[in-house]
Amino acid sequence: EPEVTQTPSHQVTQMGQEVILRCVPISNHLYFYWYRQILGQKVEFLVSFYNNEISEKSEIFDDQFSVERPDGSNFTLKIRSTKLEDSAMYFCASSEGSDRHFGSGTRLTVV
């Protein structure tokens, strides 16, 4: 069964550094998403992406965040200048309708 893959599984970065989290969605899906889960808290919506543009974003998704689909397969989340509070598990998801398929996540640790 096709799946969403995310790399790396764990990334440690220094505060103020830029990070890029990578995702390969399921190939025939058209909608792409990023969510995050701070340790012990609920999963929070960050952004949805369709037809090469952001279709909706949350208040969390400020100017420090950006998303890109640089080619036909990858979907990336960039955090320009990381803060300690950006430490979380970041999940990528894709869908062609109602069912979102989630990747196994990237654990980002900002030190």
Binding site: Y33, Y35, E56, F102
Partner: protein
């Protein structure tokens, strides 16, 4: 805007006992409802969903949930749990546009022998 409330942060049960995980939602528009499961150190997996039609929906591993519009609830039930059901369970709601999936805070199901 939609919101989801999962009142129970943790539910301990013994193996083979029945369980109900509660979920209530609020929304000003028609919604779709989902339950996701997260096993330790893994991502989210769709357990079951309600889009339309029968208000009782079932998963392949014995879970079921019933959409109750008057009570704005979508409680998850299983008549007999297994040790392997130990996981975090998230209720979620989206509007009919599928853009934004809003999650509850999750309920940790702990099944012991």
């Amino acid at each position: 805007a939609q919101s989801v409330t999962q009142l129970d942060s943790q539910v301990p049960v013994f193996e083979e006992a029945p369980v109900e995980l509660r979920c209530n939602y609020s929304s000003s528009v028609s919604v779709y409802l989902f339950w996701y499961v997260q096993y330790p150190n893994q991502g989210l997996q769709l357990l079951l969903k309600y889009l339309s039609g029968s208000t009782l929906v079932e998963s392949i591993n014995g879970f079921e949930a019933e959409f109750n519009k008057s009570q704005t609830s979508f409680h998850l039930r299983k008549p007999s749990v297994h040790i392997s059901d130990t996981a975090e369970y998230f209720c979620a709601v989206s509007d009919r546009g599928f853009q934004k999936l809003v999650f509850g805070t999750g309920t940790r199901l702990l099944v012991s022998p």
